[in-house]
């Protein structure tokens, strides 16, 4: 099962990361040096690496402003990593649309069990500790009623 991660090459074009950084400051009063949001597509389907490349290039990543990585995390300078996922069973509109696009591009059908699920990864750099990260997760990035989150300290 492959996964594709998509992110903006130039922060100038990354409105979402900019918004999240702003909200962390204005809503939670937590200062960060940088925030980078990465969109992840988990392909829970029978797909070759070649097909996966095709999907990454022609469906998920915008060729003008985005880069992608397959089955690996792009290098970022960050201190903490957070991942927010929709709970299983909760409708994933992006994931469902991704399936549609995949069907079109690869010109094939998928079985009932196959699906694409999405998640968001947040890479944060700054003077942060576990307590602050937890607040960022619980009070801003994730709604625990429908989503779950995981975080990990990256720097030593």
């Amino acid at each position: 099962m492959h996964r594709i991660e998509v992110f903006f090459a130039d922060p100038k074009n990354d409105a979402e990361s900019f918004s999240v950084k702003k909200d962390i400051l204005s809503e939670l009063e937590i200062q960060t040096d940088s925030v980078k949001v990465i969109k992840c597509y988990y392909l829970n389907a029978e797909l070759s690496l070649e097909d996966t490349e095709n999907l990454a290039k022609n469906l998920f990543a915008d060729p003008i402003v985005q880069n992608y990585s397959i089955d690996s995390e792009a290098k970022t300078e960050a201190d903490w990593k957070i991942e927010v996922k929709l709970n299983s069973g909760v409708t994933d509109n992006e994931g469902n649309t991704a399936m549609l696009g995949a069907k079109d591009l690869l010109k094939r059908n998928f079985s009932e069990n196959e699906e694409i699920r999405t998640s968001k990864k947040y890479f944060l750099k700054g003077n942060l500790d576990e307590e602050k990260i937890k607040r960022i997760c619980k009070e801003l990035l994730a709604n625990e009623v429908v989503e779950s989150f995981e975080y990990k300290k990256l720097s030593e």
Partner: protein, 801 residues
């Protein structure tokens, strides 16, 4: 028939325990009625049967409180008691007003039945309107809850009659203070600002994707909404004349289309009858897929115009159970539940039956149209399945594979639930009114404009699409800089006809803190005068009521009775019938034994049909030297005003409504609105009503619109009451009802004044060519001299996020 739940031999106490354990929300009498039915059948019910009954008899679906009998007691300050017996609150108040007006208002088509109220629009179309609340889920998951709130009300319109095309959305929100300090936020509650942002985005993302313009709304803040935000979502739809009636026939196929079924919202219908507490279940929240609903709408409108089905409704609260149960009420139905497409494996049959998964509609399709209908769904990429068929058995029979899981008589299921007699007690409040006079009226005006209830909502409003469908005539924000708040919005839904639909709302829970009777009258007056301000016609206005209340204690029930009685009296006096309504109780939050209840909040939504939408009037001052009139009397009514709120006070003299006087003025303004074609020929160039913040805020807002100043002389304002109470403060900040500022070019002065003869009005000033707002006080002194740019900046700052 699988017997799953022991009920035949239970004692009363055990019946109550069962109801509680299974989250049925049924009281003792209802449980006993249930027990009797199964005793007679000599068997026990299946789980699916119990869930079906609970859902059908739920507060949400049956409005039991509103249909109850009441012993209403009024206790005045001097201890005198007055008792009134009411047999059925709804029938004797809201419904009775409409009944009384039915003969006169021949444009009423369908009221209080079906999914929405319907009135006549033009010779080919009717217009439907429905407003609903989706409060409890929005407290848990603001985005998802609001998403499905708007999705649900849109589906109500899609499923009204044989299907209406949504042409506009409205939304009214009540939140806790956005600047609430973290320490004051109870544990496990989401911060009001977070709820606000989530709800705002949820309604926006769904409505925008459905291609329905969101054109009217309001946002209010109060500490008491902290645990219980209120999310009122409304949708207006257009339906071809004659399609308001529907009826499933024997042999018609039951076809479900749209999204798949999951565990979403199990117990949503019964859940909304319970108050939230720290352990409230999370399965009650759903996630929406607006594109699925859009596709369903695309199928529906084509199938409707091809006359492929005989009946339709949406799957809302209670899912398949309520939709099919409703449609089969007169006939009977047989359902093969194993055919329902599922989101994931592992659902029990009863879960599939009552799931509230979104974006599903049920159609009754005559056999001969089945193939064409299914083909249409396929073309639009909409999943459709034949679940069963309508019969004439008068029974609801549901199978899951070989097993029968439900067999209930329709008559029992839809019977009048045992009526209750509720006690309501109103104690007249002992209130005082003491406050500090403003030291600087400029400063007070600045402060009022910055209050969250009054401040500009521009940032939020511009997140919603107002233009889609190409019929937007008066937008939520108008004026020279497109940033000043319209009193109502107008859409012209058909390209080849002139008629327009105007929408407005009236809401002010603060007045209810003094007397809910006047809160209701004021809300109705506000909604109506808002419509009049854009040029709507007084003789073609319909109302909707939406009650959001705390728990039904005898005090809150008294507030309910007073509000309902006022609705009746005010609607009759204005000649504006109610066509639809909804109620939501138990909007309370219990934490550590303490209860935070919302203030009793009535929302009145108003719909006006305009014969010619091009006669619209916008609220911004147009030209210098035009005269400014104030229609209506100003009284010493600072009670529950925002002026007193600035000082943390409630006050005493709440604004009342003189519907006879107001109605007269509104009729004359309606007539004047029709005069003139070109802008230069219009007798009235702008109108804006006085509401929160009184005359001061109203004149500032209309000036903001034109970026033109105004010079107002308070000595010219018509005051009604004790002369001793006539002060600058009262004249500027009293929130007396029924007052409208009208801008009239000097050349039309005589025409205007002669038309308005017999009504209360006064010429209070004129439009300036500069950007100054100047107000002269009772002693001839200048009490306000402010720059519009500065005032505007302050007004925009508070909610600019």
């Amino acid at each position: 028939m699988k017997e799953e739940i022991e009920i035949k031999n239970l004692e009363e106490k055990e019946l109550n325990e069962l109801s509680s354990k299974m989250l049925l929300s049924l009281n003792t009498e209802e449980m006993k009625t249930l027990q009797d039915y199964f005793k007679e059948k000599n068997r026990n019910p299946s789980q699916a049967e119990l869930e079906t009954i609970a859902q059908t008899w739920s507060e949400h679906c049956k409005h039991k409180i509103f249909n109850s009998a009441f012993n209403y007691k009024e206790i005045s300050l001097d201890g005198k008691e007055k008792e009134t017996k009411i047999e059925n609150l709804f029938r004797e108040t809201i419904k009775s007003a409409t009944n009384k007006l039915m003969n006169e208002k021949k444009w009423l088509v369908s009221v209080f039945s079906d999914n929405a109220g319907i009135i006549s629009f033009n010779e080919n179309f009717d217009v439907a309107f429905k407003v609903e609340t989706h409060n409890h889920p929005s407290a848990l998951d603001p985005y998802g809850g609001a998403n499905t709130g708007i999705g649900g009300v849109i589906r109500d319109i899609l499923g009204v009659g044989l299907g209406a095309k949504p042409i506009a959305n409205t939304d009214v929100f009540c939140f806790g203070p956005h600047e609430l300090k973290k320490e004051k936020l109870p544990k496990n509650l989401l911060h009001p600002k977070r709820i606000f942002k989530g709800v705002r985005a949820g309604v926006r993302d769904y409505g925008n994707r459905m291609g329905i313009p969101t054109i009217n709304g309001a946002i209010l803040f109060d500490e008491r909404y902290i645990g219980n935000p209120l999310v009122y979502c409304g949708t207006i739809g257009l339906i071809p004349k004659g399609m308001d009636k529907k009826k499933a026939g024997k042999g018609d196929k039951i076809i479900a289309i749209g999204g798949r079924t999951g565990r979403d919202g199990i117990h949503g219908a019964t859940f909304s009858s319970i108050e939230l507490n720290e352990e409230t279940s999370a399965t009650a929240v759903q996630i929406g897929n607006p594109i699925e609903e859009k596709k369903v709408m695309d199928v529906l409108l084509q199938a409707r115009d091809k006359k492929l089905y005989s009946c339709i409704t949406d799957c809302g609260a209670g899912g398949f159970s309520s939709a099919i149960g409703e449609m089969a009420e007169e006939t009977g139905a047989i359902v093969y539940l194993e055919r329902a497409p599922l989101k994931y494996k592992g659902l029990k049959p009863w879960e599939i039956w009552i799931s509230e998964a979104q974006e599903r509609m049920i159609f009754a399709v005559p056999k001969e149209n089945k193939n064409e209908f299914l083909e249409l769904c396929e073309k639009e990429d909409v999943e459709a399945v034949v679940l069963g068929e309508f019969t004439d058995s008068k029974k609801l029979e549901v199978f899951f594979g070989e097993e029968k899981i439900i067999e209930l008589e329709m008559q029992f299921l839809h019977k009048e639930v045992p009526k209750r007699i509720l006690q309501a007690e109103w104690k007249e409040k002992e209130l005082t009114e003491e406050f500090e006079e403003p030291k600087d009226f400029n400063e007070t005006l600045m402060q009022l404009l910055a209050m969250p209830n009054i401040a500009s909502k521009e940032t939020t409003i511009r997140m919603y699409d107002h233009e889609v469908q190409g019929g937007s005539i008066i937008k939520p924000l108008m004026g020279k800089e497109n940033d000043s708040p319209s009193d109502a919005s107008i859409v012209k839904p058909l390209f080849d006809s002139k008629e327009g639909v105007a929408v407005s709302n009236g809401i002010n829970p603060l007045y209810g803190d003094i007397d809910p009777y006047w809160m209701a009258a004021s809300a109705i007056d506000e909604a109506i005068r808002n419509l009049i301000c854009v040029g709507a016609q007084m003789n073609h206005i319909a109302l909707l009521d939406n009650f959001c209340w705390g728990a039904p204690t005898k005090e809150k029930l008294a507030e309910l009775v007073r509000t309902a009685i006022s609705c009746r009296e005010t609607a009759i006096a204005f000649g504006t019938p109610f066509i639809s309504g909804k109620d939501s109780f138990h909007n309370e939050f219990k934490i550590k034994g303490k209860t935070i209840s919302i203030p009793s909040t009535l929302l009145i939504s108003a719909l006006g049909v305009m014969p010619d939408a091009s006669k619209r009037i916008s609220m911004d001052l147009k030209e210098k030297e035009n005269l400014i009139y104030l229609i209506g009397a100003t009284k010493n009514e600072l009670g529950a005003s925002h002026f007193l709120k600035l000082q943390g006070k409630l006050g005493k003299n709440v604004p009342e409504v003189d519907a006879e006087e107001a109605g007269k003025a509104y009729e004359k303004l309606s007539e004047l609105s029709l005069v003139g074609e070109k802008n230069s020929e219009r007798v009235i160039r702008s109108m804006h009503d006085c509401s929160e913040g009184g005359l001061a805020v109203a004149i500032a807002e209309t000036a903001f619109g034109g970026m033109l100043g105004a010079e107002i002389d308070l000595r010219k304002v018509f005051f009604e009451g004790n002369e001793k109470e006539k002060t600058n403060t009262v004249l500027l900040f009293s929130e007396s009802n029924s007052r409208i500022l009208a801008e009239v070019p000097f050349k039309f002065k005589d025409e205007f004044e002669s038309k308005m003869q017999g009504c209360i009005f006064s010429e209070i000033g004129f439009v300036l060519g500069n950007e100054n707002l100047k107000v002269t006080g009772l002693k001839g002194e200048t009490i306000i001299n402010s720059n519009l740019k500065e005032l505007k900046e302050n007004w925009k700052k508070t909610l600019k996020w």
